[in-house]
């Protein structure tokens, strides 16, 4: 690759009191190139990433500089965005153009396309967590009055071991309804009204793209590739415009079965869709059904958060095959993977939620506090198996407070921070935030 900035070189930028060392080029795309840079003393300075634009990109997007300034001023919606930190303009005439500083993407995060392509080991729980974080990120972004305009698999990164995410390429972010930024979105993710040239991207089209991205993460398939895709020989631009715009039809549309997945070509969709509870499936049917032509009817970020958090609460491990299941624990259910009947699980009743007792499930602040919005990054407690006898399930206190437990024989125990109590004899646990009752089937 030919790099726009000299690797190993040091450059002075307006507004930076220290020179910036270009450590190495990290990659390039259609807009520009990204470099690892160091600000301050060599070897001990701050390591950051610098995105530098191609002149062609600057020329076609006259509002880019102002938009970046605006985003830098407003600040990141939350920590899941690799947000622009500072606009960099060179002090000298060379190099021409400008760029912006952001944090380096930490090791361990991989492109979401690897998951969609089936080449990533990740648990269903962590995929659902990633989806929750994605909905949360867009929730915060939209609450700030901003819109993203171009979300796709290409600018989402995942940490497979935790379900954490990073949203990159935030340079199209703008105040919703303002500006004439040049980006329209990515075909396959663009809302039909944008693809067909009837609207500019904004928060309403973000909701459509978000639904597509959530579907692709949860299903490893595409919401519109069913029978109608099979009728297409050459999948080129005009074909995509029909598939995702003019003739778009959700493959699981509850009324119109005209675009159902093919059992062979689209097996991914048929295998993964039954994993998820009706409450979650209905949100997709809404966004891809009536929401296809009526942007105001699309599933809102808050609805996604609620349904995804509920899904995580319902996670139960199949006693026959060990797979993760997510269906409503109060109904008659069978494992999507092995078909075995799922027994009614032990559940933990909290003031504002109910969580299935399964290793890896977590109790969250919103389960005890009606005013707390759904959040999963600071759990109160974690269900864990005993380290030497995995058949014993315990509840670990992740808070800073000592909790009081009551056992079925009336005995009281104290559960200090970081300690785990066996669930088998436990009747109730009084946490600092509220009571946890053990409900046995």
């Amino acid at each position: 690759m030919t790099w726009l900035l000299p690797e190993g070189g040091t450059l002075q930028f307006k507004g930076l009191d220290q020179p910036l060392r270009i450590l190495r080029g990290l990659g390039g795309g259609t807009q520009g190139q990204v470099f690892a840079v160091e600000l301050g003393a060599p070897g001990s300075g701050e390591q950051l990433a610098l995105k530098w634009y191609f002149p062609s990109c600057i020329a076609r997007d006259p509002e880019l500089r102002a938009r970046l300034r605006q985003s830098i001023g407003l600040g990141a919606p939350n920590g899941d965005f690799l947000w622009p930190l500072a606009l960099l303009e060179p002090q000298e005439a060379q190099p021409a153009g400008f760029g912006y500083l952001m944090a380096l993407r930490p090791d361990g995060f991989v492109g979401a396309h690897l998951h969609a392509g089936g080449s990533l080991e990740i648990s269903l729980q962590n995929v659902l967590k990633a989806c929750f974080h994605l909905a949360e990120g867009f929730h915060q972004l939209h609450l700030k009055g901003l819109c993203y305009k171009d979300i796709s698999l290409g600018n989402l990164f995942l940490e497979p071991g935790s379900g954490r995410i990073l949203i990159c390429d935030n340079d199209n972010v703008d105040i919703d309804g303002q500006g004439q930024g040049s980006v329209l979105g990515t075909p396959g993710f663009m809302a039909p009204e944008v693809l067909l040239g009837q609207a500019r991207p904004g928060a309403a089209s973000d909701l459509f793209s978000l639904a597509v991205l959530l579907f692709r993460l949860l299903s490893r398939h595409d919401p519109f590739r069913g029978a109608r895709e099979l009728a297409i020989r050459c999948l080129d631009e005009p074909a995509r415009r029909r598939l995702y715009g003019e003739e778009a039809l959700f493959i699981f549309d509850p009324v119109d079965a005209g675009n159902r997945p093919d059992p062979v070509e689209h097996s991914a969709a048929l295998i993964t869709w039954p994993i998820y509870p009706r409450s979650l499936q209905q949100l997709f049917e809404q966004s891809f059904g009536i929401g296809l032509r009526q942007p105001e009817r699309r599933t809102l970020t808050g609805q996604w958060k609620q349904a995804l958090a509920r899904c995580l609460d319902q996670r139960q491990l199949c006693p026959h095959c060990g797979q993760e299941t997510f269906l409503d624990p109060d109904a008659e259910r069978h494992c999507w993977s092995c078909g075995g009947a799922l027994p009614k699980p032990i559940q933990l009743q909290l003031p504002h939620g109910r969580v299935v007792a399964a290793a890896g499930n977590e109790l969250q602040p919103h389960h005890v506090d009606a005013l707390a919005g759904e959040a999963i990054d600071q759990p109160l407690a974690l269900l864990v198996p005993h380290p030497s006898d995995p058949s014993l399930l315990g509840l670990r206190n992740l808070s800073q407070h000592t909790w009081q437990g009551q056992l079925s024989n009336g005995q009281q125990i104290a559960l200090e921070p970081g300690r785990t109590c066996n669930l088998a004899p436990l009747q109730r646990l009084d946490s600092h935030a509220g009571a946890i009752l053990v409900i046995r089937p």
Partner: protein, 251 residues
């Protein structure tokens, strides 16, 4: 437990090099430069293929000199491809090369469903056989009409009119365009164009990239310009020979 072992079904993307191996390619290390450029481009091409869940990138190559023959006959996944050097010697049977490719784009052997194929024609001279007949035979095929057709002119002796006919109608205006023959008058520029074709263009043909509108343009058109069914990415910034792309030198 891991996410179920499923993935989005993908489609083949056929990428075919048509390489001029006539005697003139032996001069000034042009043949070696082309071999190097293709070999160096393979890791980047493999990375694009890896990042793209929707495509199976399969590479083939035709060599043409006194006659045309498959240099790499088997559609080979780019990750498994080891480039064997081409050797120069003979005349320029470009028309025969197009006929050979036409045979490959017929169904069968062409799959019923695929992504648009990418054809890259590289030449430094003039065809010595019936180019028109070969092109006509190729362009009768729907898959050839749907294909992204690119041409790279090595040096200043290449027949730009012939290469333009292969690409299709010339775009309006002047200046560099992927819908014109790309002039590579030095090894660095050649390598940049080969890299561009094997990464950016493969990406565009297989997985849609972000769409932009030009300032002042109405967003109504996410339709690519007429004569193309795939929007082509920007050309790479290259080291230009000052007399590349200036238009005809004498008329």
């Amino acid at each position: 437990m891991p996410f179920p072992n499923v993935r989005l079904s993908n489609r083949p993307l056929h990428f075919i090099y048509l390489c001029d191996c006539s005697g003139s390619m032996a001069a000034q290390g042009k043949m070696q430069a082309l071999n190097q450029a293709i070999r160096q481009s393979l890791p980047g091409m493999a990375e694009v293929a890896r990042q793209n869940p929707e495509a199976r990138v399969l590479v083939r190559a035709v060599r043409f000199a006194d006659q045309a023959a498959w240099h790499l006959a088997e559609p080979t996944p780019v990750q498994q491809l080891h480039w064997r050097d081409l050797e120069a010697g003979g005349i320029t049977a470009m028309g025969a090369a197009l006929e050979l490719v036409a045979g490959a784009l017929q169904s069968p052997p062409m799959e019923e469903r695929a992504l648009p194929p990418v054809l890259v024609l590289i030449s430094d001279g003039q065809p010595t056989d019936d180019f028109e007949a070969g092109l006509a035979q190729l362009m009768r095929l729907p898959w050839a009409q749907k294909a992204v057709r690119l041409a790279i002119a090595m040096g200043h002796d290449a027949d730009l009119d012939v290469l333009q006919q292969f690409i299709g109608p010339e775009p309006a205006g002047r200046g560099r365009s992927p819908r014109r023959p790309l002039q590579a008058s030095n090894a660095t520029t050649l390598a940049q164009y080969i890299q561009w074709a094997s990464t950016a263009v493969v990406g565009a043909a297989s997985m849609p990239a972000s769409r932009v509108v030009m300032p002042g343009e109405r967003p109504a058109a996410t339709t690519p310009p007429s004569g193309s069914n795939i929007p082509l990415p920007d050309l790479p910034p290259t080291l230009l020979d000052p007399i590349d792309d200036v238009g005809p030198l004498v008329w």
